[in-house]
C-alpha cells in the first residue's frame, strides 16, 4: 500500500525538483527553444541587491505574520473558549476569513485601503490629515499586506487553538485554582505548556504560510511593489519565472528557497524539544 504514495511523491515532487536543479544551471529562452549552460551564474546572480532585499522583506514579513498572528489568535481563542450565550456566532465569525480565497481577500483589502476611494484610507485621512498611499509608500504597503495576511489566517489559527484548549482537562485548572494560582498564573503554568504541541504546529504552518501562501494576496494587491517593498521570495520567483520568463534564474531561486525553508523547519523541530511539552 506504500507504492501509490511513493509514486505520487516521485511524480509530483522528486522529478520536478530534479528538473529545477538541472534548469538552474542554464539560461533558457522564454519558449525554451534555446538554452545555454551557465554553470553557477544563476546562483551568483542571487547575490544582487534585489534578491537580498526580497530575502529581508520575507523574513520581516513572516516574522510579523507569525508573531502577531499567533498571539492575537491565541487571545481570541481563549475568549472564544468561554461559556457565554451566542458563542457559536462568535466562533463562526472568527473562522470566517479562512473560507475566503486569497484573491478575494486581496480584492477586499485593496478596496478598503484604496488610496483614493477606500473607506479605511478615508478614516485615516480624517484622523491624520494625510492620505496614506500604499502604491507609493513601501512601509505602509508592508503594513497593509501584513495585516491582510494575518487576518486571512485568523480562522485557521483560532480553530486549532480552540480545539487544543478544549482538550485541556478542567481538573488541572481546578487544581491550580485550589493551590491559589490566579488566572494569569494558571495560563502561563498550565494552559500555555499544554498548548505547546499545537503552538509548534501552528508556528510551522504560519511560517510556511508567510513564505508561500501569501502569494495570492500580494499578486492581487501590490504585485510586489512599490519599489519592491513587498516582493517576498515566492513572489519574486513567480515574477522572474513566469512574467519575466527567466526560467533558469527562477529555478535557482526555487532551489535556494526550498533549502532555506527545509532548514528552517528542521531548526524549529530541533528547538521545539526544549519547550514543547507532550502529555
Amino acid at each position: 500500500m506504500v507504492s501509490p504514495a511513493v509514486i505520487v511523491v516521485i511524480v509530483f515532487l522528486i522529478i520536478p525538483s530534479i528538473q529545477s536543479l538541472y534548469l538552474s544551471f542554464f539560461r533558457v529562452s522564454p519558449f525554451g527553444n534555446r538554452k545555454i549552460f551557465v554553470a553557477f551564474s544563476n546562483f551568483l546572480d542571487l547575490l544582487n541587491p534585489n534578491y537580498l532585499n526580497s530575502f529581508i522583506v520575507t523574513l520581516i514579513f513572516t516574522l510579523a505574520v507569525v508573531l502577531i498572528g499567533l498571539s492575537v489568535c491565541l487571545a481570541l481563542a481563549l475568549a472564544a473558549n468561554q461559556k457565554i450565550s451566542g458563542i457559536g456566532i462568535y466562533r463562526t465569525a472568527l473562522i470566517w476569513p479562512y473560507a475566503l480565497s486569497p484573491a478575494v481577500a486581496g480584492t477586499i483589502w485593496a478596496l478598503v485601503f484604496d488610496p483614493s476611494t477606500g473607506a479605511f484610507s478615508y478614516f485615516i485621512s480624517l484622523l491624520s490629515g494625510t492620505m496614506p498611499n500604499w502604491r507609493t509608500n513601501g512601509d505602509f504597503a508592508v503594513l497593509v499586506i501584513t495585516l491582510a495576511a494575518t487576518w486571512k489566517m485568523t480562522g485557521y489559527n483560532v480553530i486549532f487553538f480552540l480545539s487544543a484548549l478544549q482538550t485541556i482537562p478542567l481538573d488541572l485548572q481546578e487544581a491550580g485554582r485550589i493551590d491559589g494560582a490566579g488566572p494569569w498564573g494558571r495560563f502561563w503554568k498550565i494552559t500555555f505548556p499544554l498548548l505547546s504541541p499545537m503552538t509548534l504546529f501552528l508556528l510551522i504552518m504560519n511560517t510556511l504560510y508567510g513564505f508561500f501562501e501569501v502569494f495570492g494576496l500580494i499578486d492581487v494587491m501590490t504585485e510586489g511593489g512599490p519599489a519592491r517593498a513587498t516582493e517576498v521570495l515566492v513572489y519574486k520567483l513567480y515574477y522572474d519565472g513566469f512574467i519575466s520568463l527567466k526560467t533558469g534564474y527562477a529555478s535557482a531561486q526555487s532551489i535556494v528557497l526550498f533549502a532555506f525553508v527545509a532548514g528552517m523547519t528542521l531548526l524549529q523541530f530541533k528547538f521545539a524539544k526544549r519547550w514543547v511539552f507532550y502529555q
Binding site: 522564454p30 519558449f31 476611494t117 498611499n133
Partner: protein
C-alpha cells in the same frame, strides 16, 4: 407501476433524442479554434460579441474565446502550454511580448496564414501595421491597438478657475495647471498615469528619441536602453518634481489609476484610449480628452502603439489555419472593427472601419473617441516612433517601474534611479542576446 414505466420510456426517448442531436453535431466535424485573450471587464463581452458573430456565420468553425488573465499571465500560460506541446491556436499577446514571440520558434506569421488577397493589408492603419511588421511582412494580426491620451475632468478645471477647453499641451503648462488645481483645492492631486512604464516609452517616441539602441531593437538586437541619458532623466525629473509638489500622484500599474480619476481625486489622467468607453460611461462629470503634453525644444515624433495582437501558434493542421484566416478576415471587416471600437475605445484596425464610423456620425456624437486617432495620425513618421522591440521587455518594464517608484517617492534622485534601471535593463538585454547568439 404504469406511471413508472411511462417515465422510464420518456427518459429513454429523451436520451435518444440527445444522443442523436450530439452525433449530428459531431458528424459535422466542426473545427474548434482556441483563442486565449486578456480582455477583462467591459472588453470581455465585446470579444464574445465578435466571436459569436463569427461562429453563427460559420457553422463549421467554432472559435472558443477563453479569458486567461492579464496580458502577462496569458503570455506565461501560452508559453507553458507550448512547452508542454499543447499550444492554443490563437493567443493575444501584448506589444511588449512582440520580440519574445518573434524569437519563440513557436508561431506561424500571419502573412503566411492569410492567402494573398484574402485580407487587404493596405487597409490596416499604418502605425499599427508598421509596429508588427518585420521587413514589411506582418507577423501578427492587429486586434486591439491603442495609444495613450490625456483624459481630463472639465468640471474640476472650472472649479479650479481654469478654462475647461484649454488642457495643457506642454510640460510647463501641465506644471502650471496642475499647481492651480491643487492650490485651489479642486482636487487633492492633479494628475496620475495608467501603465506608467508605457507612458515613459510614449515620451521617447513622441519626441523622436530612441528608447533603446539599434533603432529601438528593430535594426538589430538592442544592447542598451537610453533611459539614463539626458532625455529620459529630464522626463523622470519633471514627473518627480510634479510628485513633490503634489501635482502628480503615482497611481500603480495598468488601470488602477482610473479609479482615482472617476472619484475626482485627480483632474487629469494619462491612460490608454481603450479606457475611453468605460471612463465616459462611468464618469459623473464632463470628460475631455486630448493629446499628451510635450516637452518643448524636441523634434516631433509620434505616439507609440500599445495594446495587443493575435499570434497564431505552430503545430496545428492546415485546416485549422484556413479557419483562422477566415476568422481574421472577419475581424478586419469594417463593421466588425467599428463595433469593437465602439464597445471599447481601441482603434478599429482598418482605415475603412474609420471611414464607416465617420460616415455614421459616430465621432461627431462621441468626440472623445477620435482623440487617439488624431494623435496617432498627425504625428511624424520617424523610425524612433515605430515601436520598441526588446527580448526581455517585460522585465525591463518592471525595472523601470521600480526605478520610477523610487524616484517619485524620493528614495533616489531621478538620475540615480535611471542609472539603476539602465544597469539592470542592459544586463537583461545582454543575457537575452547571449541565448540567441
Amino acid at each position: 407501476m404504469k406511471k413508472n414505466h411511462f417515465i422510464s420510456i420518456c427518459m429513454v426517448l429523451l436520451m435518444a433524442v440527445v444522443l442523436v442531436g450530439l452525433s449530428a453535431t459531431t458528424s459535422h466535424a466542426v473545427i474548434k479554434i482556441s483563442f486565449w485573450h486578456a480582455m477583462s471587464a467591459k472588453r470581455m463581452p465585446a470579444v464574445n460579441r465578435i466571436v459569436d458573430g463569427f461562429n453563427s456565420q460559420n457553422p463549421d468553425i467554432k472559435v472558443e474565446a477563453q479569458f486567461s488573465g492579464k496580458y502577462k499571465e496569458v503570455l506565461g500560460k501560452a508559453i507553458a502550454a507550448a512547452r508542454a506541446g499543447h499550444p492554443p491556436d490563437i493567443v493575444q499577446v501584448y506589444e511588449v511580448g512582440t520580440q519574445t514571440m518573434l524569437d519563440s520558434g513557436a508561431i506561424v506569421p500571419v502573412f503566411q496564414i492569410v492567402k494573398p488577397g484574402q485580407i487587404d493589408w493596405g487597409d490596416i492603419i499604418t502605425p499599427i501595421k508598421d509596429y508588427y511588421s518585420v521587413k514589411g511582412k506582418l507577423y501578427s494580426m492587429p486586434f486591439n491597438s491603442s495609444t495613450s491620451i490625456l483624459y481630463y475632468n472639465k468640471d474640476l478645471f472650472e472649479k479650479a478657475g481654469l478654462d475647461p477647453n484649454k488642457p495643457p499641451t506642454t510640460f510647463a503648462e501641465m506644471a502650471r495647471i496642475g499647481e492651480q488645481i491643487v492650490k485651489s483645492g479642486a482636487a487633492p492631486n492633479a494628475l496620475s498615469f495608467g501603465w506608467p512604464d508605457w507612458q515613459f516609452e510614449q515620451m521617447f517616441t513622441m519626441h523622436a528619441q530612441y528608447y533603446a539602441n539599434y533603432e529601438n531593437g528593430r535594426y538589430g538586437r538592442a544592447t542598451k536602453v537610453n533611459g539614463n541619458k539626458a532625455f529620459g532623466v529630464k522626463v523622470v525629473s519633471a514627473w518627480t518634481d510634479w510628485a513633490k509638489k503634489g501635482i502628480f500622484v503615482y497611481g500603480g500599474p495598468e488601470y488602477s489609476a482610473n479609479k482615482a480619476f472617476l472619484a475626482q481625486k485627480i483632474a487629469m489622467l494619462y491612460q490608454s484610449t481603450s479606457s475611453v468607453a468605460s471612463i465616459t460611461k462611468a464618469a459623473q462629470f464632463r470628460v475631455g480628452t486630448t493629446f499628451l503634453p510635450r516637452l518643448q525644444g524636441y523634434p516631433r515624433g509620434n505616439n507609440v502603439i500599445g495594446g495587443a495582437t493575435l499570434w497564431v501558434m505552430k503545430g496545428h493542421s492546415q485546416e485549422k489555419y484556413d479557419a483562422i484566416a477566415k476568422f481574421f478576415k472577419y475581424l478586419a471587416r469594417p463593421e466588425v472593427a467599428a463595433q469593437w471600437h465602439k464597445d471599447t475605445g481601441y482603434f478599429p484596425s482598418t482605415n475603412s472601419a474609420v471611414k464607416l464610423l465617420l460616415d455614421e456620425g459616430w465621432f461627431a456624437q462621441h468626440p472623445n473617441h477620435i482623440t487617439a486617432f488624431l494623435e496617432i495620425l498627425t504625428g511624424a513618421k520617424v523610425p524612433q516612433s515605430q515601436g520598441v522591440r526588446l527580448g526581455p521587455f517585460v522585465a525591463i518594464r518592471q525595472a523601470f517601474k521600480t526605478a520610477l517608484e523610487k524616484s517619485v517617492e524620493g528614495k533616489l534622485s531621478p538620475q540615480a534611479a535611471m542609472n539603476e534601471y539602465a544597469t539592470q535593463a542592459n544586463k537583461l538585454l545582454k543575457e537575452y542576446n547571449q541565448v540567441f547568439k
